[in-house]
């Protein structure tokens, strides 16, 4: 993955990202640190094909995603990326299994058994038919991870994945990420929490849209 001179301007005076460049390999874990409004989520959205930069280019998994059309970007998201959000963003009227199946449906064909297995692998075998309102925040985030992984993405993008979790659930989720990374999945995590940076291969720190530090372990 290579990002070169990426800038994102919301208005002429508001630069969310300012000339950001970075390179890292498949199977690595990148942590993006920084205070609120520093451009972390914007950078994650550009890498995930949800947003486009005004300047620079980004190669992700062999695609120059800054050059892709909207429909190709949609296809890229569907086939190469899995998202985990701080707010979970589960559909409230669908069960845990159905929420996972939704991602399958948009990718190819919904397979209930496969979705249930993904949830069981994350310790949610007893929660398959529960609605999001019936799950704890840790369980919600695990459903979110199952949904992100169900289509076997090349990159897992997580925006403050532990921001709404207590310490115990935070550890559970980070353990899952560690295992996934050990199996070769590329992980990019946006967080406020500097401790999470210690888990990855390297971290960058953003302030006012600029990379102010990067650390290689």
């Amino acid at each position: 993955m290579e990002l070169k001179n990426i800038s994102k301007l919301y208005t002429e005076k508001v630069r969310a990202l300012d000339n950001v460049s970075l390179t890292f390999d498949k199977g690595e874990w990148l942590t993006i640190l920084g205070p609120s409004g520093s451009g972390k989520s914007t950078l994650l959205n550009i890498i995930g094909g949800l947003d486009k930069p005004n300047e620079g280019y980004a190669f992700v998994d062999g695609f120059n995603i800054t050059q892709l059309s909207q429909s190709d970007l949609t296809k890229f998201r569907r086939e190469h990326v899995g998202f985990v959000f701080q707010q979970f963003h589960l559909v409230p009227y669908l069960t845990a299994t159905e929420n996972v199946m939704l991602a399958q449906y948009f990718h190819s064909i919904a397979d209930e058994e496969e979705a249930a297995t993904a949830l069981k692998n994350l310790g949610l075998g007893h929660r398959l038919n529960h609605l999001p309102s019936q799950l704890s925040s840790g369980e919600l985030q695990r459903v979110c991870i199952a949904r992100a992984l169900i289509n076997e993405p090349k990159v897992l993008l997580a925006d403050e994945p532990t921001g709404n979790l207590d310490h115990q659930n935070e550890c559970t989720v980070l353990d899952i990420f560690k295992q996934l990374n050990q199996k070769g999945l590329t992980i990019i995590i946006v967080t406020h929490n500097p401790e999470i940076a210690n888990l990855g291969n390297f971290a960058i720190r953003l302030e006012h849209g600029k990379v102010v530090a990067d650390s290689q372990r």
Binding site: S41, R78, F83, H89, L94
Partner: protein, 382 residues
């Protein structure tokens, strides 16, 4: 899909109600428009014949009601045997009735008058608006009864049950006066007896001067029908009483135009209501749509979801709308014509298509707006 619909029950119910309101009125208007032609035709048929058969090369001026419709010569006749063919034509089901007529000039109490030999029962069935006093002529074999127009009755001072004398070519025939009627037109100056009796009296057995026919104008094209009659009955020319036919057609056209305009207006209003409901519903679901976009849902799959929901709303709204519409149309029909409307199965698919069409069209703009949602904004919760 079921979960999605039941989760937003109130929105779905409002959308279904919008469809039901629009579609029920459209279904009622549709049912009425199907029935109005027949119903008004039946009503208008109270005003007499709309096609007449006259002998070929007719030269004697004849008239019906206030209308003149040609001439005929004393020597020109239609063969009565040919007339039976009227009942074998494909349009026989739409024929209210027909009356063969033989005219002659007679003396009645020293006055000249027109004698019409007719099938009296048929004459009354195509002219139900005529006011008959007395029993009229009860059957086609009755050789004793005569009915006279109001003007003659007044001149003669004749009363029901009186014996009247009719002179034809020096011979006198006596009849019992079994009825008088008032039409407000030329019939008030005529004498009516059975066709068979008139044919024998005038020695014109099996011959006619005219046949009056009354068709349901809403169901048959009178001009095409006249051509078919002329082809089938070689001794006769068929003429459409254009004033009657055109005013019927124009009346029906006007009513159907009013109904169509109303139906389109009602459906447009319903489409606006459904558009507004679906727009609100999609606005409430923008986070969900943002999530779908983030998960890589293409516009085709997202559109598919919303259009399928719209179709379900359309089908439910269409079926309920049909039921309400038939009820509404029946109420109107009972009030206006005193008969219930006949529900027609063809209305169901038409109404369903209309309902699905309305919800589909109403969904196009909201769905297009939904597809333009920026997922990065909605996922942030802004």
């Amino acid at each position: 899909m079921r979960a999605s619909l039941s989760h937003r029950k109130s929105r779905v119910i409002i959308a279904v109600i919008s469809v039901v309101l629009g579609v029920s009125l459209a279904a009622a208007l549709l049912d009425i428009s199907f029935d109005i032609g027949e119903r008004t035709s039946v009503t208008l048929r109270g005003y007499g014949a709309n096609i007449i058969l006259v002998p070929k090369e007719a030269t004697l001026q004849v008239g019906l009601g206030g209308l003149g419709f040609g001439t005929m010569s004393g020597g020109s006749f239609i063969e009565e045997n040919d007339v039976a063919k009227i009942e074998t034509l494909s349009s026989a089901n739409d024929l209210v009735s027909y009356v063969p007529v033989l005219y002659s000039i007679i003396d009645i109490s020293g006055q000249k008058a027109v004698l019409s030999g007719v099938w009296f029962d048929s004459l009354m069935s195509i002219n139900p608006s005529w006011k008959l006093t007395g029993n009229g002529i009860q059957n086609r074999e009755d050789t004793q009864s005569a009915v006279i127009g109001a003007n003659i009755a007044e001149t003669l001072g004749a009363r029901l049950g009186d014996e009247i004398e009719i002179a034809y070519e020096g011979k006198v025939y006596r009849f019992n006066l079994t009825g008088t009627f008032s039409t407000g037109a030329s019939e008030d100056n005529q004498v009516f007896i059975n066709l068979k009796v008139a044919q024998e009296m005038t020695q014109n057995k099996g011959l006619l001067h005219m046949v009056q026919l009354s068709y349901l104008a809403g169901k048959v094209n009178l001009y095409t029908q006249a051509e078919e009659l002329a082809r089938s009955i070689p001794s006769a020319d068929a003429k459409v009483l254009s004033q009657v036919a055109e005013s019927e057609a124009s009346f029906l056209n006007k009513i159907q135009t009013v109904i169509t305009v109303l139906a389109v207006g009602v459906l447009a209003a319903s489409a606006f209501a459904v558009t507004s409901t679906i727009s609100t519903s999609l606005l409430e679901r923008k986070n969900e749509i943002g999530l779908m976009l983030a998960l890589g849902a293409d516009s085709k799959k997202i559109s598919q979801i919303f259009f399928t929901e719209a179709t379900i709303i359309g089908v439910i709204g269409g079926l309920l709308g049909y039921l309400f519409g038939v009820g509404l149309a029946s109420l109107v029909w009972l009030q206006v014509f005193n008969v219930p409307i006949l529900p027609r199965p063809i209305t169901i698919p038409i109404v369903l298509l209309i309902a699905i069409g309305v919800t589909f069209i109403a969904s196009v703009i909201p769905v297009r707006q939904a597809l333009r949602i920026n997922p990065t904004v909605t996922l942030k919760g802004e």
